[in-house]
Amino acid sequence: MTTGDDVNPLDAGLGTERRAPPLALVVFGASGDLTHRKLMPALEHLARRRLLPAGFSVVGVARTELSDDDFQARMAEAVKDAGPEWEALTRSFRYVAGDYTETTTFERLRRVLDALDRERGTAGNRVYYLATVPQVFSKVVTGLGEHGLAKPKDSDSFARIVIEKPFGRDLESAARLDAELHQVLDEDQIYRIDHYLGKETVQNVLALRFANAIFEPIWNRRYVDHVQITVAESLGVGHRAGFYETAGAMRDIVQNHVMQVLALTAMEPPATINARGIRDEKVKALRAVDILTPDEVATEVVRAQYDAGWVEGEEVKSYRAEEDVAPDSTTETYVAMRLSVDNWRWAGVPFYIRTGKRLPKRITEVAMEFKSVPHLPFPSDMARGLQRNSLVLRIQPDEGITLRFGAKVPGQAFRVRSVSMDFSYGAAFVEESPDAYERLLLDAMVGDPTLFIRTDEVDQAWRIVDPILGAWAAGDAPLARYEAGTWGPKAADRLIERDGHRWRSP
């Protein structure tokens, strides 16, 4: 084995092909909640798994006045029970205090980054993470552009930017944000993060569908009766009421998480599992979703808000009684809808979607409900316990897959009932799953955009959601109510029952 300058022969066999290259991670909003709760623990995990390079540093940027030492101490404390490797890593962190609209902030940032290149060997590589409120996205990007920080320092280095959802609050504002970003950045520099895509089991939808010969042939209108996608939360709005009042379940969950899960479920097999292949197919699937007319919104979509009730053994107040929520708020905390994916694979197969807060438990799952057998050769009283076959992909918690099928009940009579074959991730693999942020942060550092959302995906998701928001804004759609701790309003039951189906009990 001889060495070339492009490959590191010592990496072979270590499983560290995805170790980040030398770089500086610049976190805007460094004093905020996301940085403490998600980004720093994710970095600590990456350091522990030896996936960060020696030439690595974090530069925090925020308005709060802090010294480098203060910032290092705060970041060290952000990770509970961290080992000495985390403390050693945080000693390389730097901090720039300043307003995102001021030139001096970006000038100081440039000086710090240049110094890190010299002292730490970060090689001119930058990943900018916008852990800020969305209102300042364009200010930061403009500042980076004006100070020559948005473009790679030279032909061997890179500059990438990670932005958090929401990507606009409707189609128009999303397009405006995109235009502002593209004034400074190329699309391949932009990493739009939806942490749902970083979950192992979301990615496993791809593995299940495209690595197994037995599932893909039945993954279509010939065998699938309908699809149910459930994203349920037992929590209320918590401290996010200010944001949630302006967003609601449609913008907070459906436009991004649900559309991504739907796209992965409905998409055609890509030629290759790479960023372009997967994202092209996801966009094609989203394009095939039938856009609802205002009249259809009234019949195909249910919006609702929770009243007081009991969840997980605790009495909880109604949404309108939550702190920072208007007493006459009409923000939806629950959405159920019936969508059609109009293409050869899915024509005529309804996709039922429901998401809500204060539901009985936290669960995200995709359930493929298969058609019944064309003829049941058993007397009906012998097959009373028999349900349709279903394949359920549990995304969280207790990630796994359940296949429901019919089996003979032991005994003299030929009675048949449904049984479940259950596969649990936790019990099948020695490896621990990386946290979603850990996975996505590393992807951004190594330059793999597969699990990030491309501009046309954002655009297409808004095209589906916008008419619904428009119809609601017109004031015609009623706001149903549901008791906290139940699976939603009666109207949602009626939505699915009119097709002869029922919501699953996940």
């Binding site: 084995m1 001889t2 060495t3 070339g4 300058d5 492009d6 590191n8 022969p9 010592l10 990496d11 072979a12 066999g13 270590l14 499983g15 560290t16 170790r19 290259p21 030398p22 350091a47 522990r48 030896r50 960060l52 390079p53 020696a54 030439g55 690595f56 080992g83 000495p84 490797e85 050693a88 890593l89 290149d117 010299r118 002292e119 730490r120 060997g121 090689a123 061997d156 918690p397 207790d398 259950d422 596969f423 649990s424 991730y425 936790g426 019990a427 099948a428 693999f429 020695v430 490896e431 621990e432």
Partner: protein
Amino acid sequence: MAQPLTLSVWSDENVKVADVLAAMEGLRKPERLPPFRTTVMTLVMLASRRSNADWAMSAVYELGGRHPARTLLILTDPYGDTGVDAEVRLLGGRADGAELWFEDIELTVRGDVTDHLDSLIEPFTVADLPVVSWFVDGLPAADDAMIRASDVILVDARGFGDTDCFETIASLLEERPVVDLSWVRLAPWRALLAGLFDGRELRPFLSGVRSVQVFGKTGPRHLLGGWLVDRLGLEHDVVELHDALHVSIGIDAVAGGRTARFEVVRAGDERMVTARAHISGGPESSSVVVLPDATPAWGLADALSHLERDPVYEGALRVALALPSA
């Protein structure tokens, strides 16, 4: 997962395989059991001493729900009266919040049966899944019947204390993939050293290595020395091996007229390894990795996750055989 809870136990002396299989069936029946742990391999642990057998079993228990294997512990006594004693334990525990149950089979094999272990284990293996044989306290000969019955051999070169074991492992490699726990445990040193050469500024130093010093016990230091010679295309005499309690590596290199020193050092008894790169007139970088606790399970989870041939290990072993046994 914490130490699993024993739900049921069956044991008997001088048993037939059919007795054990029937007992396993009987143990499972009356319980209202949570889901069975997903099984992806059969792990056969072979030991001739009780203390080694207990040590290996404790390693498996430490992996707990994250160890998806049917475990079969074979305790051999070739000089005893021919026969087999068996104990089957039905165990319950939690992994990632889920309740699971699983079973361990322990066979004490005496006399002539010890020469025919392959015939004994076959009925207990899980169909269509690999059989991993872990030789806990000694290396088998390449013609050992258990090699034929195994898909993968698991050993620990560190435990043998000399370099002769490399020749035996090399002969085993001709028959089956071998996973060496000693090699798996060296991954932090290798990863840290490899990481020091990341980036366009540092990568060229890999082509200008002038001297390498590897410290450690017999076995690990030879494997690391062999690895560096093999991967970097170095002459054997560039590498110096030194006996030491803990593993450390130093490399001196030149590139573009600059000299550099790269080190991966475990200092004292701290379970921490530090990597440093010092380039004359250039950047200095360092990173630290904390080693896992030195429990029996150290390296076992990783070893069981990579059961295929490892050409990097095989290359390192090949060179280690030729390195001076300093």
